[in-house]
Symmetry: C2
Subunit: 505 residues, 2 copies
């Protein structure tokens, strides 16, 4: 058995060195050119399914569609659950004779919450347009190759169902050209990533043997703003908090009480302004005490990144950026983002009153080695030092009357950041595979600004974890009018075909 | 004719000195005790009419009900309009043989905007309850005198339709006891006060002769928190502004851009915190340059006010007040109240995104001699000095890209404050009339914290203007669940009867 394996491996290596690389890319592109509509039909079927993970039946409906899609490609698929009324993960596998390495391909099939009124078309009615602000196009009626600048608009189009479709399509393309993967394939699809993956750890630990591998490849996140292919070797962690700040027990006439009854809108403004400045610097005492410095290799990777700032400022109509760093450098720091402030009313509905409560919603992006627990503790300590009474449940009248400044903090589940060593053999092999398919260098990011629970795979499996994103950076992920640019989907199929069939170390 | 007039006047004065005072109060109370339900029927009929002045047809429907109510009391009534599609004012008059003074009684019949979801019962479905947080009661089915602690809930119940019903009922009570007013009566009902009375000045100036008088009595505002009867000799002015603060042109993933793209929620927080502190002090440079000092007489009146602060803190569940002054002293200063902040989303709808725009809604309470124009100019100058680009229309892309901090200001119509001299003969006669009906001293406020366009009457007619409020302080005016406590309505009928029939100088 051992000899046979070695012989297979030697043959495969020889093939890689001489002819597989150009042929693979060409074959995949040929297959894709004749199957664009078939790929989009499957993509639309998936995007039509509402997928906000707070609604577990919606997630289960997605799983019922995804399992047969995986089985159609010859993978054995099943659900992994952390218990009743929790969003299931989907597991699938394909053992490849002769493959000596096993790779787990990760993506998530849930999406961010939606505010339908802010969308041009309904978030779960996939709609093709000829550009980011373009007009609707009927791609089914179009003749010839589809314009690769067209975009499909729907929640999760970019984040993260595109990666699933690219993986499935790559398997189709390999089969059509008579190829088999060069690694044993495991697929893990998270059903609650946009909610902070509260059950992921339990699922991974309960399936430790099943998920054993040599590498996790994370198919999530957008590619670089230059539209160049990208790999990322880590991701920021995340947590979040809903803050409620209390004013008078009932709304008051602003004329008769407006200089005397504490205004929760003003207290919310002071609280936010005390926590961070408009250059993005976090002012919470000791917040960066355990932030791991950037290594020389990471520094070099960052410095090699193309410039994007001036184009981005134009695209986003920005008169400045927060701070003077490059975008990629700023993402190496912890971030405190205010997702929203809701207090009283504005515009037509505004009344001359002192409001009763202010709501501030914040997400925190974490970097190694600042954990969610440390971030939460530092913020609570900071607020207490600033004179705030911090509670976690709705306060009673007595607490309100004895607290000059009262805030309720409701913390979300979160997870820490990760940066994988770029010098590992698996890391180098992955870069080489993707660069062969690309025919040249790709963008290598030490750490993604967004959050993927990469830390957990490294922590539980002691296995390297690397990210392979495919979505366009301007896909409006986490916002209204999320979309995927078709060329990014085509690129994704090429990349997945490479890391399935031209990947060895 | 002159002799006859003098004889009538002499007779009236004699009557006042000997028996009218105690008899008047007793007669009015007797009439009221047997007509409580009739008063409430008329009050409910008025409160059922939606009255937000942005909807002119609603205001016109109110006028169609009010005009016959006035005519029923023997007044000649008509509408005064500033033009098509503007809320009309209502004018009515009754000339009293022998009366040497003419008094205009002012109230407004429009109400603040409503957010029905925040009301226990629909805002235009008057509902009686047995207390502020009490249970519904069927007052029509109740036997005997109605409990004076019951409250009628509806928009405008306290602000300001109660004053209109008290005036009408006082006229009924006088007629029932065979009395005539001691002054010529003019009634002026504003139809757009809660919108800042944008057409009031034009209406007053166009009807300068019609509205000539010796005194304006303003029936608006709540009485003192001690529930003692009150007169006020001025009111703060008001203006307001809607601010829009601009972030990126589209919402962005907070992980991939959250430390780099300027966050408009944070900019809004910084802007608010720069303009005022949590003690209510306005930090805008030079804002108080023209604030008129409190006179010794006003200081004495303020010092004579009963203490309300500790009861109020309990009632409102406050852990502190803004600043260390008494409530009444704090209302002598200009106020900057944040009515609301809306940016991004909070709670279940929150997404991990950098929002595109922040909206901040502010109302400004003004004191003599700080005018709306000066306040607006000082704020715009202050923001510019802080690095903000200030625009008044929606900015184009070029303005956004060349402005590190960009805010759009949309100013509301407003008006300045007024303080009437408390030592004038008319002022003294009014205090004496109300104190006779009360049987003792009343609260005398140099200036109301809320806003009534008193300045305009003084400015146009060169006539003293004094306020006679009747609503309970805890009437939730300008907020949800606005209400009027019945005893305040009964008191109001006594007070109006006094200043109609026992009022001479």
């Amino acid at each position: 058995m051992l000899k046979t394996v070695v012989a297979f491996a030697a043959l495969a290596l020889a093939s890689t060195a001489t002819q597989a690389k150009p042929t693979l890319r060409a074959d995949v592109d040929t297959w894709r050119a004749t199957h664009e509509r078939q790929v989009l039909e499957e993509f639309e079927a998936l995007l039509k399914l509402p997928d906000v993970a707070t609604n577990v039946p919606d997630i289960e409906a997605n799983a019922r569609v995804l399992v047969p899609m995986l089985e159609k490609r010859g993978l054995k698929a099943r659900l992994l659950s952390a218990g009743p009324n929790t969003p299931p993960a989907i597991y699938a596998e394909m053992t490849v004779p002769g493959a000596k390495r096993t790779v787990v391909y990760y993506a998530h099939y849930d999406g961010q919450p939606v505010t339908p009124s802010q969308w041009r078309s309904a978030p779960f009615t996939p709609t093709m347009r000829d550009g980011l602000s373009g007009k609707d196009v009927d791609w089914r009626a179009a003749s010839g190759p589809l314009n690769p600048e067209w975009r499909l608009f729907a929640r999760s189009a970019g984040d993260d169902k595109a990666s699933i479709i690219a993986l499935l399509s790559a398997l189709d393309a390999l089969k059509a050209s008579g190829r088999k993967p060069s690694v044993n394939v495991k697929v893990f699809l998270d059903g609650e990533e946009e909610q902070g993956s509260p059950h992921l750890e339990a699922i991974l630990k309960a399936n430790r043997d099943l998920l054993k591998s040599d590498l996790w490849v994370i198919g999530d996140g957008p590619v670089h703003q230059s539209r160049r292919w990208e790999l990322f070797f880590g991701a920021r962690g995340v947590t979040g908090v809903e803050m409620t700040i209390y004013g008078p027990a009932r709304a008051l006439h602003s004329g008769h009480y407006g200089n005397w009854a504490p205004n929760p809108a003003v207290m919310a403004a002071e609280l936010v302004a005390s926590m961070r400045d408009s250059d993005g610097r976090i002012l919470v005492t000791g917040y960066s005490d355990h932030v791991r410095p950037i290594s020389p290799a990471e520094r070099a990777a960052l410095d090699a990144l193309p410039d994007v700032e001036s184009d981005l400022k134009q695209e986003l109509q920005l008169g400045r950026s927060e701070g003077s760093e490059r975008l990629s450098d700023s993402l190496m720091r912890p971030a405190l983002n205010v997702r929203g402030i809701s207090v009283g009313k504005t515009g037509e509905e505004a009344a001359n009153a002192v409001p009763t409560e202010a709501h501030v919603s914040i997400d925190l992006r974490l970097v190694p080695d600042l954990t969610p627990e440390e971030a939460q503790g530092k913020i609570e300590g900071f607020l207490k030092a600033k004179g705030w009474t911090v509670v976690h449940d709705a306060p009673d009248a007595s607490t309100r009357m004895t607290s000059p400044r009262l805030v309720r903090l409701q913390w979300e589940a979160g997870y820490p950041a990760l940066r994988t060593d770029m010098a590992l053999p698996a890391s180098k092999a992955l870069i080489a595979s993707v660069e062969r398919a690309n025919g040249g260098p790709v963008v290598v990011m030490p750490m993604l600004g967004g959050s993927v629970p990469m830390y957990l795979f490294a922590d539980i499996f002691k296995t390297p974890v690397v990210g392979l994103p495919i979505a366009n950076h301007d896909d409006n992920q986490h916002a209204s009018n999320e979309n995927l640019r078709l060329q990014n989907l085509w690129d994704g199929i090429d990349e997945y075909a490479a890391v399935l069939a031209d990947f060895r170390w």
